[in-house]
């Protein structure tokens, strides 16, 4: 009996209910079709997770904070002989990186994700600010407890938060009033950081770092309209200054693959306000310009050529997004419905 020379690659995608996971699953089916055995997992039942329509196997799992989650994850990876695992929720990524470094992931499973340092930069905004400064990368003035720098406008945000969740914009007077009762919490788990307030525009920068410099790609997305956290109108451009910044960031993080980060301006120019150790849900908007960060991410993991996933953008491109409707079948016993 001979082994299959081209066995189907087996991939597990976490947080399957997110837009990011849907974009990842779509890229798999678009470029690799049925040659990939796609598994997806989420806390919701399959009929509430659109990615399940694209997946060969779907697993409803406990929340990643649950003590049962790790056992469930390891069982899926082992029982289904998963070759590649793509965690997407920031804490899930952190957990996966920890599992990898404690050698608890099955040896045959390759993690598509950041290294431990990039993971810390992405998950701890205070660590990130210090790390960026140490590596000569611009970041807003940042401190813990009470402000130790002068600014007219400040923002406070959860130290371990994601995106702009929990962000508060304050004047100096307002922040001083809050700090009069004592320093703000500095606890890594529920503390906040104090930053100088940067100004618009806020750009999300999609980055792909390839094996060689020439294979790397950077695009800027300006979110012109956001509904329920989803970018619905974006302007996509190339920018030489930000490209240099992005490559420097990726190189400093020893990153190989796709990720994104946000920049805003302070009086010195662009500064990095957030780093995400994966492409974002709206990174998919770039694919209609012929630049597919998800496709390139998987191609790199599979050892394939990433160049076909990118092309130059001679000018700014606007992309609008609309919702799609999907019919979800609740269970196998549901009679086949006439539509």
């Amino acid at each position: 009996m001979t082994s299959d020379p081209n066995p189907r690659k087996r991939i597990l995608i976490g947080a399957a209910g997110t837009g990011t996971a849907f974009a990842a699953c779509t890229a798999i089916r678009r470029y690799w079709g049925d040659s990939v055995e796609l598994s997806a997992m989420d806390t919701n039942p399959h009929y509430l997770v659109t990615s399940s329509l694209l997946a060969d196997h779907y697993f409803q799992v406990k929340p990643f904070r649950s003590p049962e989650f790790v056992d469930q994850l390891l069982a899926i990876l082992t029982d289904h002989a998963i070759d590649f695992y793509l965690p997407l929720y920031p804490q899930e990524i952190k957990l996966a990186v920890e599992l990898k470094h404690s050698r608890r992931l099955p040896t045959a499973t390759r993690l598509i994700g950041p290294g431990p340092e990039a993971c810390n930069v992405a998950s701890d905004k205070y660590f990130a600010a210090g790390w960026l400064s140490e590596h000569g990368l611009p970041s807003p003035k940042t401190c813990l407890g009470i402000p130790d720098f002068d600014a007219t406008h400040y923002c406070i945000k959860p130290r371990m938060g994601t995106g702009s969740t929990g962000l508060r914009l304050l004047t100096k007077v307002e922040l001083d009033a809050i700090c009069q009762t004592g320093p703000l919490s500095t606890d890594p788990s529920d503390g906040v950081i104090i930053q100088e307030q940067c100004f618009a525009p806020e750009l999300t920068v999609d980055v792909f770092i390839g094996q060689q410099n020439s294979q790397s790609r950077v695009l800027c997305r300006e979110r012109l309209e956001i509904k329920s956290g989803v970018s619905t109108k974006v302007r996509i451009t190339e920018d030489e200054t930000i490209t240099t910044l992005a490559i420097q960031l990726g190189t400093s993080l020893n990153y190989l693959g796709a990720f994104c980060f946000q920049v805003m301006r302070n009086e010195k120019g662009w500064c990095v306000i957030d780093v995400n150790p994966r492409p974002g849900a709206a990174s998919a908007t770039c694919s209609v310009t012929g630049n597919d960060f998800y496709g390139a991410m998987f191609a790199l993991a599979f050892g394939e050529n990433t160049e076909p996933f990118f092309q130059r953008l001679p000018r700014a491109v606007y992309v609008t997004r609309q919702y799609s409707d999907f019919l979800m079948i609740e269970n196998d016993e549901t009679p086949l419905l006439r539509l």
Partner: protein, 206 residues
């Protein structure tokens, strides 16, 4: 004579296998363990979606209802986004343009606007002199009418309906085996030679 080439789209310019299989997977209850490769091969051998499902072991009513669902969703814009241009086709079309060929697309689709968006996304529209969309229910005669008007030097398509259209219009036809019909099926229906891809066909003929 104007150097004009007419092209079919699905299965000729773009690979729509991934879309077809993904839609089939999405509309099939998980308990029905179907072999999508076998179904795709059945369809390439000339079977309808219903017959291919039946051939894969489903009952007639299961097959008919899944095929109805498949038909309903197959041209939804999200699923269309799974189509990709076959390798080297873009470069080949660019080269044809450089050599002053007029390129005309003739395709059977229910939703012309979705096709237009798809052509923009896939960076193909800029290479085409014109695009014609016909009703899939009467694809052969409608394509024939356009071919008769356009009078191309050649029409390239991936199925027997394209061949019939070319025959009706009196236009030379070349078949590719990259789409909805396999090489054996097209050969059995009297077409020869059959090219593996559009690029191979253009290289050999144009």
């Amino acid at each position: 004579m104007t150097k004009r080439l007419c092209l079919d789209f699905d299965g000729t310019v773009v690979d729509c296998r991934h879309r077809q299989m993904a839609v089939l997977h999405s509309v099939t209850p998980k308990s029905l363990d179907i072999d999508r490769h076998a179904i795709w091969n059945s369809k390439r051998n000339g079977k309808s979606t219903t017959d291919a499902l039946k051939h894969a072991g489903l009952t007639l009513s299961q097959s008919m209802l899944i095929a109805m669902r498949w038909e309903k969703f197959i041209e939804d814009r999200f699923w269309l986004s799974l189509d990709v241009v076959f390798p080297n086709v873009e470069e080949t079309l660019i080269e044809l343009k450089r050599r002053d060929w007029q390129l005309v697309l003739i395709t059977a689709r229910r939703d012309p606007d979705a096709l237009h968006q798809q052509l923009l996304h896939l960076r193909i529209r800029r290479l085409l002199n014109s695009v014609h969309v016909v009703d899939p229910r009467k694809a052969a005669p409608a394509k024939a009418e356009i071919l008769y008007r356009e009078q191309p030097m050649l029409f390239v398509g991936d199925n027997e309906s394209d061949g019939t259209a070319a025959q009706l219009a009196g236009v030379p036809f070349k078949a590719v085996a990259s789409g909805q019909r396999c090489r054996e099926f097209m050969t059995d229906h009297g077409y020869s030679p059959i090219y593996s891809t559009l690029v191979e066909c253009i290289d050999a003929v144009v």
